[in-house]
């Protein structure tokens, strides 16, 4: 592991909703490190806790959530940081892109306002300078006719354009970390490809660190250096993207990879699906949460939760008593 100080270091983070009925533990004991300019993919089924993690980092967890552990950004502890300090970091140093661009833009505010307000709340900028910066940012995310867009409302834009605008909003104050929660899920396939290309370009141009949330291993594999696989609120596997994709050690990751729709998949063959489902929210299993669905589960898997342990050089780690053999 690199000795360089990480941009983002998450240690023992858990998110729970003690007020819910039944009380829900959405995330437990998550650990991750992200260096400046690198990218990390959070992968898992819906309900695995990946969005909860994405929200917890900039302190945006839903009211009622209890976040524990340690989240350090540039060495600064964010858990229990003052609201004012978190506000100063959000937008300025940590950008956030939500899943649904339709819903994430305020319907009653012009695109220009939504772009410039981020800048103007963090920097003392006059309207003209903010507008110029907004135009520049729209060009950078390849929005056609950017000057006209500033005066338009979100409902006047197509879905792909809205997501580009959301990206521009998240990046306009040049943050060093961008968190994107399923940024392409709500889009058409062709539009999605364009947005993925844009992410690649922006990462290179802006030296951005990226946390990308997705349920699709293929999407993450194309964009990220490292992958973290979550299942039922816990990390089951993590490591360099290439290694995890090519040689998944956890049976869940393997199943996920098989289920992932890739363009290379031969036509006419049914996509593999994973039988069964995650434990219901609020249900805490003594053993491995994947054991009930796992083809390789033994008695020990049901009784004892496997720890996340290194399995290979290069930083790959897996939480499994009986990991798949290395290929």
């Amino acid at each position: 592991m690199s000795a360089e100080a990480p941009l983002l270091a998450v240690l023992g983070v858990g998110v729970s909703f003690p007020g819910a009925r039944p009380p829900v533990r959405a995330l437990a004991d998550v650990e991750l490190r992200l260096l400046a300019g690198r990218s990390l993919g959070l992968v898992g089924e819906s309900g695995a806790g990946k969005s909860q993690l994405a929200l917890a980092i900039p302190g945006l967890s839903a009211p009622g959530a209890v976040v524990e552990g340690s989240i350090r950004f540039c060495g600064e502890e964010l858990i229990n940081a003052s609201p004012a300090r978190l506000r100063a970091l959000r937008g300025r140093h940590i950008g956030f892109i939500a899943q649904d661009p339709q819903a994430a833009l305020a319907p009653h505010l012009k695109v220009g306002t939504q772009l410039t307000e981020t800048l103007r709340s963090h920097h003392a900028l006059d309207a003209r300078a903010a507008r110029a910066a907004a135009l520049q940012m729209l060009e950078r995310v390849q929005v056609p006719a950017p000057a006209a867009r500033l005066g338009q409302y979100p409902h006047e834009l197509s879905g792909g354009l809205r997501q580009r605008v959301s990206i521009a909003i998240a990046l306009i104050a040049s943050p060093s970390l961008l968190i994107a929660d399923e940024p392409t899920t709500a889009l058409d396939v062709t539009v999605e490809a364009g947005i993925r290309a844009l992410f690649l370009k922006l990462r290179q141009e802006l030296k951005l660190a990226l946390v990308l949330v997705s349920h699709d291993l293929a999407v993450v594999g194309g964009l990220c250096d490292e992958i973290l696989v979550l299942y039922a609120g816990r990390v089951v596997e993590s490591g360099p993207a290439a290694a995890v994709l090519k040689d998944p050690r956890h049976h869940y990751t393997a199943a996920l990879a098989a289920a992932s729709a890739t363009l290379e998949a031969p036509l006419g063959l049914p996509l593999a699906t994973i039988a069964g489902s995650q434990p219901a929210p609020g249900v805490e299993l003594a053993g491995c949460a994947f054991a009930p669905r796992c083809p390789a589960a033994a008695a020990r898997c049901h009784a004892e939760r496997p720890p996340l342990a290194s399995v290979a050089a290069g930083g790959a780690r897996v939480a499994c008593h009986f990991p798949r053999a290395s290929a």
């Binding site: 945006l60 956030f96 994430a104 009653h108 963090h122 409902h155």
Partner: protein, 309 residues
Amino acid sequence: MSYALRRLLGLVPTLFIIVSLAFVLVRLAPGGPFDQEQTLAPEIKANLERAYGLDRPLGEQYLRYLGRLAHGDLGPSMRLRDFTVNELIAIGLPVSLTIGGLALALSLLIGLPLGLGAALARRRGLDRLLMATTALGIAIPPYVTAPLLALVFGIYLRWLPVAGWEGGQLRDLVLPVVALALPTLAYLARLTRASVLEVAGLPFVRAARAKGLSEARIVLVHVLPPALGPVLAYLGPAAAGILAGSLVIETVFGLPGMGRFLVEGALNRDYTLVLGKVIVYATLVLLLNLLVDLLRALLDPRIRARRRA
């Protein structure tokens, strides 16, 4: 602006339907305004009916009424014979508009901030207190609060007059306006709270928070404008409710408003008076609804877009 004008013209057919329905409804029953005056000699009664045109066929009366209405003439009152309906309305309308308008303004000025405050203090003491009191405020109609307020502040405490209208002085206005405003105020507060809470849970508010905006800007710029939509939409019904309540309030406090003589007029078959006043009330409600619609379009670009299309 041309849109507003078009909408204003669009009220004319609606008003025409209301006038026609009201005319038919009022004239459906047998009997007339002069039947109950037993002392009237038959020939005098006939003369009176001729003078008011009641001896003509109904269709002709209707057309003549419409003709005069087109010139803004609501005709003479049939029971208060020294007055025309226009004169009676000219006396009553300013009074009713004053207390109705003030009541609506008061409900907005207090109800909106209360609702917003309750939403921000969600589930804490202030919120619970406000919700409990507003539940009470909605359940108690103005004809209960009005006399109770008069009893406490007028009779026991002697702070304010129990009744009367001396040129619309402030002290005469307080109790009627408060009694009239309370249910609307309470309802607006609850509506605002619910609406703000709903908008505050929408993804774009989380997005605004992710931008690092100040809490004040999030509430005032991102949450409040869209949350006001349902609140504004309620203003139409609220105004109609306040007009209905003003009937009672004017009775309780002895105010010379539009409601005066209306109930008596209905019981005495004073056709022209009842028709005239109902038409004015209906016009007021229609105008207010139009105003609310235009305001909502100002707040919501999507409504504007739909209208241009």
